[in-house]
Symmetry: C2
Subunit: 196 residues, 2 copies
Amino acid sequence: MRAHSGRRPGESGTREAILAAARRQFAELGYDRTSMRQVALEAGVDPTLVSHFHGTKQQLFLEVVELPFQPADVLPALLTGDRDDAGARLAHFAIGVFESEQGRSRVVSLVRAAASEPEAARLVRDLLTREVLTPIAEGIGSDDAAYRASLVMSQIVGLIMARYIVEVEPLASRDASVIADAIAPTLQRYLTGDLT
Amino acid sequence: MRAHSGRRPGESGTREAILAAARRQFAELGYDRTSMRQVALEAGVDPTLVSHFHGTKQQLFLEVVELPFQPADVLPALLTGDRDDAGARLAHFAIGVFESEQGRSRVVSLVRAAASEPEAARLVRDLLTREVLTPIAEGIGSDDAAYRASLVMSQIVGLIMARYIVEVEPLASRDASVIADAIAPTLQRYLTGDLT
C-alpha cells in the first residue's frame, strides 16, 4: 500500500539498505577492499543507484563513518569542566562509546581505513582533524593545544588498535572501566600537564 | 662466470629479490592487497618460485616483517637498568628505530597488516605477543606485567598510527626526541606506576 505514496519510501529504503551494506563492508573489509559493486549487491540494488544516491566511494565512506557522536557538541564540555578531571572524563567517555556496538563498529572502520592506503588515511586525517582534534584543542585552549590534542589521539587510536582490532591480551578482555582508569592520567598529562 | 658455481648464487639472488619485492608491497599495499603473483612479477621471477622458496603468503609475511631489532636481546636490558628511567629509555629506543627508514617500513607494515583483516591481525598479535610483549613483561617482572606490557604497546602502536601512517599534525612533523620525551612518562607509569 505504501507503494501508492510514490517513490519516496522506496528511495529512503534503498538509501538505508545501501548505507547499512556500506557500513558493514567498510568495517569488515576496510576501505580499499570495499567496492561500490559489492555494496550494491549486498543491498540488493542496481549498482548505478549507489553512486546516484551517495556519490563516489570517498563520499559514501564519509557518509557511513560519521562519528558515533557529535564531537563538537561533546568534547568542549568534557574538557572545560574541572580541568583536573578532564583526562578521566575523556577516557571514560571514549571507552563508553567504543564499548557500544555501533560506536565500536564506526571507530574500527575509521582506524582500518586510515591504515589501509594513503587516500583513505588522508580522508580520515581530515575528518579527525576537523571533527575531533580541533574541538579537543579548543577545549584545552592552551598554546600548544593542537600538539596536545594529537598526543591524546595517539593514545586513543592505539587503544582502539590494541583492544578492538589486534585484540592483544590481557588488554582486550580487561574490564572497560579499569582500562579507562589506566589511560586517564595519560590523557590528563597530554591535555594539561608537563610534556618535557 | 659465477654461473659456473651452480645454482646457489642464482637461488640466493632470487630469494633476495622476492623478499625485497614482498617487503615493499606489504609496506605499501598492506597484507590483503599484496599478492604472491604481484610479488613474483616485481621480483622478475616465475610465480611458482615464490611459494617454492617462501611457502604461503602468511609465511612470506612473517619472513619479511621480522622486527627491525631482536626484542628479546634489547628489551630486558632496556627495562632492567635503573627502573625510574625505563620509560624514557624505551621511548627513545622505540622512536629511534621508527625514525630509521628500515625500522619505519617494517613497523608500518606490521600495523597496516594488523588493521587489514582478522587473519593478518592474528599473525601480528602472535608475533608481537611472542617477540615484544613477553620480553617487556619479563623485563617488568611485576604481578600484572602482561597487562602493563599491553598498555605500553597501545601507546606505541598509537604513535605509529598517528605519526607515521595517518600523519596527524603537528605530531607528524614535531622533532622525534620531543615526542619521545612526551610519551616517556606514559610508558614509565604503565611499566612501574599506579594504574588505578
